[in-house]
C-alpha cells in the first residue's frame, strides 16, 4: 500500500507538470465537445486525434487521449438531458429520464447530478484502476500463449453474452471482425492473406480507418438529410443546484452505478454502453416506485451516468495490465502507445512506471477539470449545438478523411474508411452492433498467434489448455458463459437483456 502511494505521488509529480496538465485540460475540452456532438463519439474523436499525438511524448499522448475518452463520457450526457440526443451511445439511457426532467423544468439538477455522478464514478474508477491494475499485471506475468488464448476466448464469449442486442448478431460481428484481422501477412508463415494484390493491405487493416468508418461515417450516413437541431435550453448556474432530496435519491444509484460500471468495464465489449443499460435496469428494479422511471426519475440519470464513467475507467485495467483492449476505444489507445515503441502488457507498469502512474494521476486531475467544466460552463458548450448540422457534417467528413490519411499518409486508409462506412451503415440498418467488429479486428491476430504458439509449445497437443490451471479455469468460465448464453435460445426463457428492458439492439 505504501509502495502504491509512493508511486501515486510520483505519478502526481508527472501529472502536475504544466505541459501534461495543459494537454489533460485540452483533452477534456475536446472530449466534452466530441461527446456532445452527435456523429462524433469518443472513438471517432480519439481516432481522429491519434495522428496528432505521434509527435508528442507517450505520457502526454495517452493523457490527451484519455482526457478525450472520459471527457466524451461527460459531454454525452449534456445533449441527452437537454435535447434528447445522445452525443454518444452510452448516454442513450440518460435521455429517458434526463430529458423528462428537462421537460419538467429540472434540466439543472439533472445536469448537476450527471456531472457529480460522473465525477464520483470517475474518481472511484481511478482508485480501482490504481489498486487492481498492478496486481493483475503481476499475476499476468504467469501467462503464456495458452493462457492468452483462453483469455481472449473468454473475452469473446463475454462480449457475446453481455452484448446489448442479439447474441447471434454480436457473435457474427465478432467473427466478421476476426476475419478482418486475418487480412495481411501471417507472421508465422509469411503468407500474405486476403490482400487482393494490394501492397498496403500486407500490413493488415488498421483499427483507425475501420473505427472511423464504422462509427463516424456510418453515423453521418444515417443522419443524412437531417434538419437543423432542435431548440436547446441553457440552464443558469443557480438552476444547476440540486435539492437535498435529489442528492439523497442519487447517492445509492451513484454508488451502485460506479461499482457496477467498473466491473463491467473490465470485461470486453462495449462496456460503457452495456453498463448504463444494466445500471438503469437495476435502479428501476430496486426502486419502490418503478413507475417514476421514464417520467423524470433522477435515479435514472444518476445510475447510468455513473456507470458509463466508471466503465470507461475500468476498461483501462486490462489495457494497461494485460495489453488487451476491451473495446475499440482502448484498442486505438493501445495503438497510440505502441506507435512510441512501448509494448503494452504485464511489464508495462514495471518498465514504464512514469507512464502508468502519470496516467493514473492525470485521471484524478482530469475528473476535477471535467467537474469544473461541466457545471459552470455548460452554457458555453451548449452554444456549439447551435451550429447548423448542414455545416457540421461536411466538416466532420473532411476531418475523417484528414484523420485517416494522416495515420500512415496513405489514401488506402481513406478507402478502407469509406468502405467500412458503407458496411457500418448497412449493418446498422439491419440492427447489428458495430463494436464487436472493431474488437474482433484487434483480437483476431492476437488470438491466432497465441493459439498457434500454444500448439507449437505443446507439439500440437491440445491438452496444453487443460494441463495449465489458469487456462483451464478460464476455458471453464468460457464454457459456462456459452451455456448461459445458449439457455434462453433452447428453453425460450428470459435472459438478462429482457430483465433489464434491453430488448432492442444497442446501436453503436
Amino acid at each position: 500500500m505504501v509502495e502504491t502511494l509512493n508511486s501515486l505521488m510520483h505519478g502526481f509529480a508527472v501529472a502536475f507538470q504544466p505541459e501534461v496538465m495543459m494537454y489533460a485540460f485540452f483533452g477534456c475540452i475536446i472530449g466534452t465537445l466530441v461527446g456532445m456532438m452527435p456523429g462524433l463519439g469518443p472513438l471517432a474523436g480519439i481516432s481522429l486525434l491519434l495522428p496528432a499525438t505521434f509527435g508528442l511524448n507517450p505520457i502526454i499522448a495517452i493523457v490527451l487521449l484519455a482526457g478525450v475518452y472520459y471527457g466524451a463520457m461527460y459531454g454525452g450526457s449534456t445533449t441527452s438531458i437537454l435535447m434528447r440526443i445522445p452525443g454518444e451511445a452510452a448516454s442513450v439511457m440518460t435521455c429517458v429520464d434526463g430529458y423528462a426532467m428537462t421537460q419538467q423544468g429540472r434540466a439543472g439538477p439533472a445536469l448537476a447530478i450527471a456531472a457529480i455522478g460522473s465525477f464520483v464514478a470517475g474518481t472511484l474508477g481511478v482508485l480501482g484502476l490504481m489498486l487492481l491494475a498492478p496486481t493483475l499485471a503481476s499475476f499476468a506475468l504467469r501467462f503464456g500463449p495458452p493462457e492468452y488464448t483462453a483469455l481472449l476466448l473468454v473475452g469473446l464469449f463475454v462480449l457475446a453474452y453481455m452484448s446489448g442486442g442479439s447474441m447471434l448478431k454480436t457473435l457474427a460481428m465478432a467473427v466478421f471482425g476476426l476475419l478482418l484481422g486475418m487480412i495481411g501477412i501471417d507472421v508465422m508463415s509469411g503468407y500474405t492473406r486476403f490482400s487482393f494484390g494490394i501492397t498496403e493491405l500486407g500490413d493488415g487493416v488498421g483499427i483507425v480507418p475501420v473505427a472511423v468508418g464504422l462509427f463516424g461515417i456510418s453515423e453521418i450516413l444515417m443522419t443524412a438529410g437531417q434538419s437543423d437541431p432542435p431548440k436547446v435550453q441553457r440552464p443558469t448556474l443557480r438552476q444547476l443546484v440540486p435539492t437535498a432530496s435529489d442528492l439523497r435519491q442519487s447517492a445509492g444509484p451513484i454508488a451502485r452505478g460506479s461499482l457496477l460500471g467498473f466491473m463491467i468495464g473490465i470485461i470486453p465489449g462495449s462496456a460503457h454502453v452495456i453498463s448504463s443499460f444494466v445500471s438503469y435496469g437495476l435502479e428501476r428494479r430496486l426502486s419502490k416506485h418503478p413507475e417514476r422511471f421514464g417520467n423524470g426519475a433522477i435515479e435514472g440519470v444518476a445510475g447510468p451516468e455513473s456507470a458509463n464513467n466508471a466503465a470507461a475507467t475500468g476498461a483501462f485495467v486490462p489495457m494497461l495490465a494485460l495489453g488487451i483492449p476491451t473495446g475499440p476505444v482502448t484498442a486505438v489507445m493501445l495503438a497510440a502507445i505502441m506507435v512510441h515503441g512501448i509494448l503494452p502488457g504485464p511489464m508495462l507498469i514495471e518498465q514504464q512506471p512514469e507512464l502508468f502512474w502519470g496516467f493514473v494521476a492525470s485521471m484524478y486531475v482530469g475528473n476535477v477539470v471535467l467537474l469544473i467544466l461541466n457545471l459552470p460552463m455548460v452554457g458555453v458548450f451548449v452554444s456549439l449545438l447551435r451550429i447548423p448540422y448542414a455545416y457540421l457534417y461536411p466538416c466532420i467528413l473532411a476531418f475523417c478523411i484528414l484523420g485517416c490519411y494522416s495515420v500512415s499518409n496513405s489514401t488506402m486508409d481513406v478507402w478502407i474508411m469509406l468502405v467500412m462506412g458503407v458496411v457500418g451503415y448497412a449493418l446498422r440498418k439491419f440492427g447489428f452492433d458495430l463494436a464487436p467488429v472493431a474488437l474482433g479486428l484487434v483480437l483476431g491476430p492476437m488470438l491466432e498467434l497465441s493459439l498457434r504458439q500454444a500448439l507449437a509449445m505443446s507439439g500440437g497437443d491440445y491438452g496444453i489448455f487443460l494441463d495449465r490451471p489458469i487456462a483451464l479455469t478460464m476455458l471453464g468460465f468460457a464454457m459456462l458463459l456459452l451455456l448461459f448464453a445458449v439457455k434462453p435460445l433452447i428453453f425460450k426463457g428470459k435472459d438478462w437483456r429482457s430483465k433489464v428492458g434491453l430488448d432492442e439492439p444497442a446501436d453503436s
Binding site: M182, T223, G225, A390, F399, T411, K429, D461
Partner: protein
Amino acid sequence: MTESQQPQGGLRSDQVSGLILFALALYVGWLNREFPVGSLAEPGPGYVPMLLAIGLGLIGLLIAVFGSRSSAVSGMAWPEATRALVIMTACVLATFALERIGYRITVVALLVFFFGVIERKSWWMTATVAVTFSLASHYVVGVLLKVPLPRGPWGF
C-alpha cells in the same frame, strides 16, 4: 412490436442479413483455398480463417433461421439512402483527388459541393467556411503538428 415489425409478407431483415453473412462466409472459404490449412496439431495460415468462415456461415444460417420474426425487408425505411449515396460519391471523388490536386483544394471543393450544392447555403457563407476550414485544418495538422499532407502539382 413496432409498426415496421408487424408481420408482413416477403423476406425478413434477419433472413436477408443472415444469408448475406452466409454468402460472405462461402466467399472467404473460397478465397482461403490458396492457403495451406495445415492440421489440427499444426495449423497453417489458412486454418483460423477457415474456422472463422465456418463459424460465420453457421451463425449466418442461424440468424436466417431464427429471423422469421424480424421486420419485413419491404417495410424497412431508407429515407436517407439517396443523400447517403450522394455523400459517399462525393467522398470517393475527394479521395481520388486528394493526392492528385492536394489537400487544400480537395477540401475546398468537397465543402463547396456540400454547402453550396447539397445544402444550398449562400455563396459567400459557402466560400468563407470552405476556405477557412481548409486552410485552418491544414495549418493545424500540416504545419503545427507536422503531418505531411498531400500537395497538388501547383505546390499547395
